[in-house]
Assembly symmetry: C2
């Protein structure tokens, strides 16, 4: 643990840091802001692209029959597998593993205590045998017990250098160029774009504005409980080792209502965890866009759906068929996949 | 109960309603948008007004030592007693009473069941004897058991005609003109303004944009649990008779972190329920504004603080003294109190 004063108070440099971050606002996202010539250059001409562009055109045509006023132009995006890669495991799992290794220096007992010992030995099979309970324990050990401010700094520091084991790229480079363009296109047409992820809300907030152009107040995710307290007289929000909200499956419409307070008119997901969010969005009156990113490209990304452990897409794919939702086929529809690939 | 189809799905008119609402965006709030001549015409010259204007000037002066980038210009406002009147009881209590009376027609058993019977007889003393438990029961009976969409329409219909028993004015006219001007001034300077209220989040959202110019996604409040389900195949968010979150006292910083994900730089409250929100805001680095609306005007509004049952201001007033927070004295600082008064 850090000293209470460091944990409790934000360092004086926070404001300076905020100014610097703002001066270089969303450099990644900005590179993908729409251009008049072609709003979606990383997309192949095809049914998915055509449908998305037609939808945006119809809800923004002033005086048109499907016009939607700007405040109601809410679009929601899943994160893992929809905006960035989620294979071989969720990025947050790499964060947990790295944090356990970093924290182990001051926790010698972890070398002989499960599930930490298995992770520290790199024995993933033994770790998996511990099941959900072991993973939850690791998540709590790395996500709670510090202030909200301290956790935010831990994430900022980690995401600045953490790289994908297969590509060697920063995780923040493994975001999908076509989706960044889509967010830029929507922002350019008066939409507000929200992230609705099963991942941790405070794990995403430190970097979503820079990478996606989506500010922290438009991030919805799973959370631990927090408690306000005075620590040595300093107002502090402490993160407790207790789940507060799981923003997955039927939790996603609940999270959307909690944070947005309106039903979205467009939703983008990639797995069965997004099914209810897609249903909720599609069932509203007037024009609606429900779309699924389907991982079909083993060469450039990964190919998985019905049988995958991570990002399983089965029921939602069936429902996309019966309800006529848009399926974005990565291999067919995307000219470029990752933001790090040359244009 | 309404028929399931009505409860579950939004009527087709919702989009049209949204268009109409948007066309007449925030008519009340717009009337109070800042003018170049005097941004705060309903305020007397005095220390509170001077301090507020100096704060806004300092954090928005480009290149100045206290400059805060627009995304970090977050201001939070309590609602009851800070933006509108809260005497003789919270407006939401009138809503609960009206709803119990309206619902009693189809619930004959309420005539002989407490706490409904006391309320229906108008026996407030007997009702008060039931304490917190009775009030919670009435709140749940009127706030849960319907869909989120249906509750939203109930509130919209009620707030359109509900009037204050003393002044005969619509409750939405009993908002403080000086605070509407202040919100307009802040919006005009790149701030985002949020409501952080102990009141129900879904009780406020249907009207805050029209009255305050604050959209539903910037409203933080207390809530019941909701559950996503398919009702006759229709995606529905049902409101359950169970408290999910109490956005009061130490809950306010928690609610702010949950929804905003950043620490505010300005906070406005009026009671001990706002103490922790004021502490949390004031304790951040850089320029901060923590202000308390003090009810000192028995003639134009009400005069109450340390001993009041509603809106008790005691500890927070002490702390305002020791920490140098801004006290807005209604009688001294406000030229005009309510939005319905002539300019």
């Amino acid at each position: 643990m850090q000293a209470p004063t460091r944990v409790a108070g934000r360092p004086a440099s926070t404001t300076r840091r905020a100014v610097l971050a703002w001066a270089a606002t969303a450099p990644v996202a900005r590179a993908f802001a729409q251009t008049a010539a072609d709003p979606l250059p990383s997309w192949h001409d095809g049914p998915a692209r055509a449908r998305i562009l037609a939808f945006v055109e119809s809800v923004t045509r002033s005086g048109g029959p499907e016009f939607v006023p700007p405040p109601a132009r809410v679009a929601v995006f899943d994160n893992d597998g929809t905006l960035w890669a989620e294979q071989p495991v969720y990025v947050q799992a790499f964060f947990i593993a790295d944090r356990v290794r970093a924290m182990a220096a001051t926790r010698p007992e972890w070398k002989t205590t499960e599930p930490y010992a298995s992770l520290l030995r790199g024995d993933l099979r033994a770790l998996a045998a511990g099941g959900e309970k072991a993973l939850a324990q690791l998540a709590m050990a790395t996500h709670a017990g510090m202030s909200a401010d301290a956790f935010s700094r831990i994430v900022e520091d980690w995401i600045a250098t953490a790289r994908h084991p297969k590509t060697g790229r920063l995780f923040t480079e493994m975001v999908y160029a076509p989706m960044l363009e889509l967010i830029g296109h929507l922002h350019g047409h008066g939409f507000s774009c929200w992230i609705v992820s099963g991942g941790g809300i405070e794990f995403m907030r430190p970097w979503t504005e820079r990478i996606y152009g989506i500010p922290p107040e438009r991030v919805i995710g799973s959370s631990v409980k927090t408690r306000y307290e005075l620590r040595g007289g300093v107002p502090t929000l402490m993160r407790l080792p207790e789940v507060d909200f799981v923003d997955d499956k039927a939790g996603k419409p609940v999270g959307i209502q909690r944070h947005v307070g309106r039903r979205p008119i467009a939703a983008f997901g990639n797995s069965d965890g997004d099914l209810q969010m897609l249903q909720w969005t599609a069932a509203g009156p007037g024009p609606r866009l429900a779309a699924i990113v389907r991982h079909t490209d083993a060469q450039r990304e990964w190919a998985y759906d019905r049988a995958s452990k991570i990002g399983r897409l089965d029921r939602a794919l069936d429902e996309a068929g019966t309800r006529g939702w848009t399926v974005i086929d990565m291999q067919r529809d995307w000219r470029r996949v990752f933001a790090f690939e040359p244009r």
